[in-house]
Amino acid sequence: MPAVSKGDGMRGLAVFISDIRNCKSKEAEIKRINKELANIRSKFKGDKALDGYSKKKYVCKLLFIFLLGHDIDFGHMEAVNLLSSNKYTEKQIGYLFISVLVNSNSELIRLINNAIKNDLSSRNPTFMCLALHCIANVGSREMAEAFAGEIPRILVAGDTMDSVKQSAALCLLRLYKASPDLVLMGEWTSRVVHLLNDQHMGVVTAAISLITCLSQKNPDEFKTCVSLAVSRLSRIVSSASTDLQDYTYYFVPAPWLSCKLLRLLQCYPPPEDGAVKGRLVECLETILNKAQEPPKSKKVQHSNAKNAILFEAISLIIHYDSEPNLLVRACNQLGQFLQHRETNLRYLALESMCTLASSEFSHEAVKTHIETVINALKTERDVSVRQRAADLLYAMCDRSNAKQIVAEMLSYLETADYSIREEMVLKVAILAEKYAVDYSWYVDTILNLIRIAGDYVSEEVWYRVIQIVINRDDVQGYAAKTVFEALQAPACHENMVKVGGYILGEFGNLIAGDPRSSPLVQFNLLHSKFHLCSVPTRALLLSAYIKFINLFPETKATIQEVLRSDSQIRNSDVELQQRAVEYLKLSSIASTDVLATVLEEMPPFPERESSILAKLKKKKGPGVVPVSELEDGKREGGELNGGGDRGPDSAMSSTPSPSADLLGLRSAAPVSAAAPSAGSLLVDVFSESGAGGPAAAVNDDGFLRFVCKNNGVLFENQLLQIGIKSEYRQNLGELPGFSASAVPPLSVPSGLGDGDLNVQTKPVEPLVEGGAQVQQVLNIECITDFSEAPQLNIKFRYGGALQNITLKLPVTINKFFQPTEMAATDFFQRWKQLSQPQQEAQKIFKANHGMDTEVLKAKLLGLGTALLENVDPNPENYVCAGVVQTKSQQVGVLLRLEPNAQAQMYRLTLRSSKDTVSKRLCDLLAEQF
């Protein structure tokens, strides 16, 4: 029986709950529940009309059963009936049932909405609150449709009771979050802001949540809230602990409201009005001062409430990032918390310091706490706190302390929790690369990583070390020596074998002079690991062997014998078998010259941002990796992070197929390493397309698709889609590019880099709703001919993390073409006039997209030139003419495209009065057919 039965106490319900509690087994419980369900069903279906009390009791039982985790498929109608009861408790239970078991049954929704409507218009505050609670709890679109217009009126009406205002504010917030399109801004919005001045603290507390959410989405409309919030905050902060009566919580005046005011201010930049700003800085200083005062109570509630405000104030200081004095004070305060006896405070201090580390004003101050943080990493008993410590070490790392931090993280890895190892590995790999001064340290670090946590070293990490070794000849000998030594260990991780196999295959010759690491010793060492490895690693080793044959002819016989053995040449795995057969054949029939060409040392990789970084970002999701590292990368000018910052999608591109062929010797035709784009994965495991410089790697594909067309989707990932619509007239272009995001919310201040173009942008709304589109119009004037397309840098925040996408805008020189019609004689006369060698650019290339006549014509028309019929004596050929209009000059261009269907090849010739134009057009067009 119940220990307490407050209120009206439904006896039958209490008995039922007792019964359930007395059930000895799950089966017994289910049996009892089924019995009850049958009973209730019969009552609901029975002839006798149930009185309100019984209905309430049964509905409440159903609710209890549902909350136990069982499905309920009836009783909704009875619950809806209760809504129109004039007994408060019956109504209340009805609403509770509806709130918990929302049903999308449209008939019911209509009935529910009707009951709510009645209660809202009852002018009975208790009933109104019940109805508002229900809307806030359900928050469905149907309810938003029905009430989004009504609730703002209730909220700002002069005669609404305070308690109803409170409910209405939060009810509206819920509807706005669920269906922002249905809550229309209007005359009420300005009055909502003034609720910040309300006499009743409860009203302010409820209203500020709504105002904060609305301000995030419509900052301009709610700007006036800043000064109101500052003055409200200032009044609270300076009040004595008893002034606010029941809103004082354990001697802290209005902690909830204070936190929310500080949070609201974080939606805006620092106040421009000097007086307001002064007042705010004073508040922040007072809050920091109070942290140093002796506590007014020993209760943890007192310190929690006080520190909640302090942390929120520090967040605001970090958000402003403009007051060095406050930033350093904040850092010192957090430094004290790092050694606090409360685990919660240590956790929060570590977390908050992470963001402080990215401010240039406080980065140095954060660094002074390095020993404490390292100590936390070693001694904290809670893994989530250790995780924060590791995050902070990562955030505070720079050239001056990288060696120490990397060493500490490595030694922590040996005992680290499994749950965080992979992330730790990525972080160590990134720091080691970013701050490597001498690359032997880098190589040592990565090999240590593999040794300590080989299972957690992902492909990105070991690809990266290979990429770096290939690109830096000063470290190749050292790397070969080190992997050779590492492979001596009796049990070494498979990832070590991969790195070892690759590096010795490329640079084994650099250590072959030492008899202790002679070619045969190297080979035997590698081969001793062969049988313990998985198929992909074995495939890699086979490729290393063929490289050995080239590097060290003296190993040829031994290796051929290995390749010839049944376990290789008849291996059940086709990939291995094929390699064995082909390598054996290659080594027997090819001359030394051919062999040397085919197996030449790998060419350097294009340098660009590490894909490990992208992987870490992906792994951690938005908001966890400090933004600082992106900026850091630039500030420190990390030599290897040459490429532009990239969108979050780039990690995907670097995951090759399982039989990743590291030596670029794939399938039937062994290709020379010098022909990088021929399908070999290692050639460019870090980018989706082999073509293009590092900065363009993000969207070269997308970019090239726009040479012959003006509209389409330029870029798409999980967060946003960027489409392009463009129109060109002479030397002017207009790009009302549109971007649509799939996930809310993000803000898109974007920047354009331009050269010989004059690009003007129209500002866009700083916030993009999920699923919404914003349009940004770019007006472009072509000043003179150009070859580099302007870049579009899109920076936005999503889930707190700064996202950065660099795209090439599809603005190419041909966009400024004016078509020129001319007869055959004119054409050939001009063709001859443009006969100087630099005026012509020619390319012969393979057809990539079939050779369909209509498609070709469409493309040539899309190019912007006039397609001239009956000009070329050979009807298979295409000739075009046009004038490139730039502000400074006009450049006449003639084009001739000669398809050879048999060979599936084209010859493309361009002649123009300006050599750069011919060349650029030729380059662009060669990719199009």
């Binding site: 909350l67 007994k87 408060y88 902690p255 909640a308 685990t343």
Partner: protein, 159 residues
């Protein structure tokens, strides 16, 4: 706040309040997972943890765990005090509350929570005001609320 759960040391859910729309299956799955995660933690550990893409704040009172899942930008410490204030409200209403009170009067636990938090945000932080609203409602049990006159009378009597 995304949701709030109350559960016993044995992992039995005693109260669940969801402030984001989710299917029943999803709610059950999330609830089970989070309860296991928290029960697996040792006493004296930090009250905050990262869980999926959320921050979780929890505290144990006697045999009951109170647990809130909050957004990235929400304040952990003030959430701890949200929990504490709710416990205080229950305590005051039931008179040194215990798990059984919440089991047998689960509907009251929901009503009190709705007065305190709405849509995941603090509606009324004053203990007195919340309790007054709840007690007023209790007084209304058998009062036929037909007209405003009747109600305002009750209000006068109560105050």
């Amino acid at each position: 706040m995304r949701f709030m759960l109350l559960f016993s040391r044995q992992g039995k859910l005693r109260l669940q309040k969801w402030y984001v729309p989710l299917g029943d299956q999803e709610k059950r799955r999330l609830g089970r997972e989070l309860v296991q995660t928290i029960l697996g933690r040792k006493a004296k550990m930090c009250s905050f943890l990262e869980w999926r893409d959320l921050k979780v704040v929890y505290k144990r009172y006697a045999s009951l765990y109170f647990c809130c899942a909050i957004e990235e930008q929400d304040n952990e410490l003030i959430t701890l005090e949200v929990i504490h204030r709710y416990v205080e409200l229950l305590d005051k209403y039931f008179g040194s509350v215990c798990e059984l009170d919440i089991i047998f009067n689960f509907e009251k636990a929901y009503f009190i929570l709705d007065e305190f938090l709405l849509g995941g945000e603090a509606q009324e932080t004053s203990k007195k005001s919340v309790l007054k609203a709840i007690e007023q409602a209790d007084q209304l049990q058998e009062v036929r609320a037909v007209s405003i006159e009747d109600l305002s009378l009750t209000a006068v009597v109560l105050s």
